[in-house]
Structure formats: C-alpha cells, structure tokens
C-alpha cells in the first residue's frame, strides 16, 4: 500500500501517541483519565496472571506429589 495519505495519517497517529508518552504533563484530562484506566487494567491483568500461574503451579504439584497415607 503506497497511498501517501494513509502513510502520513498513520505516521501522524504514531507521532501523536509518542508525544503523549513523552510529555505526560501536557496530555488532556480525558487522555490522562484513559491512561490511568489503562494502568489499572494492566496492573489487574498482571495480578490476575500471577494468580493463574500460582494456581496452575499448585495444580501441577498436587498431581505430582505422592499421597502419604498413615
């Protein structure tokens, strides 16, 4: 695809996002809110992933540990 308008549009979008990332103090309140929501979502996602890894590890260990009978 060589349409210069498309390439220029996408380049503008990237520049816009780069500027937003480089100068956090200058972003609009709406963009700041959206970023904050994204940060919370990332934190929750990582926390959930860590929890899933823990649960899977426990399940694997339970399957491999011989039961001790008294």
């Amino acid at each position: 695809v060589t349409d210069p308008r498309i390439q220029s549009y996408l380049a503008d979008q990237d520049a816009h996002h780069a500027a937003e990332t480089a100068r956090p103090g200058e972003i609009s309140p709406e963009a700041a809110k959206a970023r904050s929501r994204r940060n919370v979502a990332i934190a929750l996602g990582l926390g959930a992933f860590a929890l899933v890894l823990l649960v899977v590890t426990m399940a694997q260990l339970a399957g491999q540990t011989p039961r001790i009978t008294y």
Binding site: L10, H16, H17, R35, R37, A41, L53, A59, A62
Partner: protein
Amino acid sequence: MIDTLAASSAARPAEWRDYVALMKPRVMSLVVFTAFVGLLAAPADVNPILAAAIVLAIALGAGGAGALNMAYDADIDAVMRRTCARPVPAGKVSRAEAMTFGLVMSALAVTLLALAGGPLAAGLLAFTIFFYAVIYTMWLKRSTAQNIVIGGLAGALPPAVAWAGATGSLGLDPALMVAIIFFWTPPHFWALALYKQGDYAKAGVPMLPNVAGAPAARLQILLYALLLAPLGLAPVATGLGGWLYAAVSIGLGAMFVLLAVRVARSRAGEAGTDEADLYEVKMGDRAARDLFAFSILYLFGLFAALLAEHGLGLYAATPFVLGGVAP
C-alpha cells in the same frame, strides 16, 4: 475516509474495548472452540484447572497474534472498508502499542502453556504465533495468491496445541483436526474474497480472485470443497468420530459441496459488490456469500459433533474404524 477516522480518534482515547478488539475476538472464539474440542477429544484425564489454563493460554496466544497482525497491517486495514474501523487505523491505538501488546500477550501465553501443558504444547503455540504474525502477515499476505492456503496452517493448529497440552504428544487424530481446518480455510476465505475483491484490490492484497480471476477462484473453491468433504469424514476411520460425527460430517459435507458447485456455476465475483457489511452483496455474488456463511457453520458443526461425543458422552463407535489407526 481518513478525515472521518481522524475525527473519531480525536474524540475518544483508547479504552479497554479497543484492546479487546485488537485481539480479534471473533477469530479468537473459533480458535478457542476448536482448541477446546481438541482438549476434550484427547485421550487423557486432565485436571480441570490445567485444562482451563491450557484453553486460556491458547486464547491469549490467538489474541497476541491478532494484535501483532493488526499492528503490521494497519496500512492495509486503513483502506479496506471491512477493516478501517479497527483500533490502529482508527487511531485509537498506535502501531507501537499494538505491537507491544501483542508481544506481551504472546509471551504470557507461551509461558502459561509451558507451565500448564508442557514444552511440546508451548513450542507449538509459539510456532503458531510466529507463523501467523511473521510468515503469514509480514510475508505471504502481501506476496502471493496462496497466502491463505499456507497461512491457514496457523489457524488450523490450535486443536493440536490443546491435544499436545493434554497428552504431551501428537498423533493422527490431532493431525486430522488440523487438516480439516487447513483445507477448510481456502474455500472459506476465497468465497469472501470473491465478493470483497474491490476491497482487497484497493489494499493491494493479492487474493486469488484478484490475481487469477474470479473463474479460476470459483474452480479452486470447488476443488478444495471436493477434498474437504471426504477429509471431514476421516476421523470416523480413526475412531475419533462416532455415529453422530459421521452423520453431521456427511450432511454438512454434502451441503458444502453443493454450495461450492453453485459458486462454480455462478458468476460470483463479477457483480462488483462494494458494500461495507460482511454479508451484504449484489445479486450475482450471493452464491459466494452463501458459501462463506455456510462454511462457518460447517466447521462449527463438525467440531460441535466431536464436542457432543467426547464432552457429553454421546460417542458411539461406528464399525468403520480401520484396523491399525484407532487411537
């Protein structure tokens, strides 16, 4: 169009929905469904927690690959009516963000699958993501009319990934499930490409109808349908599919061939459909649209039959299992 997109992107920053959209949820749902069936059909007693983790990992992997595809294909998506509203061309998510999101999701998916399903499944998932994001998206899609034939392998592998996660090995049955999806992919996408030719041409994607012409594409669709219908019955011969699967496969397979014959006898791809809606076509392209819609039902039906047999206890062996190939 670009002005409209710019206006819409300026109106709203990225939200969680945009990241969900990056993962191609419709494609992901089919991937998860076929993987789930592969997991259930595998001859292994899997801990439900591990089974859920295996399916989750495959879903994350599919989502990651989808995001990588959207990041790379932003230029193509921006000029196609069907895809111009996706998060990257719409300006809601930058290409760098989509790429990062895809890489992180892929890494998490492979890590989780290594832990829950073992190294074979994890390696196969990593290969699948690589094949889709690099071999198909970056190379084949823009360079050959056989793009979706070879690239279709990525979409076909999930049942084998799940099978490997459940059993730690592979065999003829998962290979058959892969083969069914692999041979289903070309007639499915070429039927779509027949009535979306204008879109693909604008984007410069060399789909078969654009490169070889509509008549050649219609013939190829019929040939693949003639291959697919008997292949869809093959699981009966290995014992993977029972009576229910056999009945569903014969019925849907016959219908698939009939619709492919209808496409071959039609002038589909020559009506000049340019509608934005996925299923809206001009009169002459109806045969292609009908086959495209039915092909989704076909694949869903086959795997739903396996799901009912192996997940709901409806399996009843047929006398057609060949000696030496039963699982």
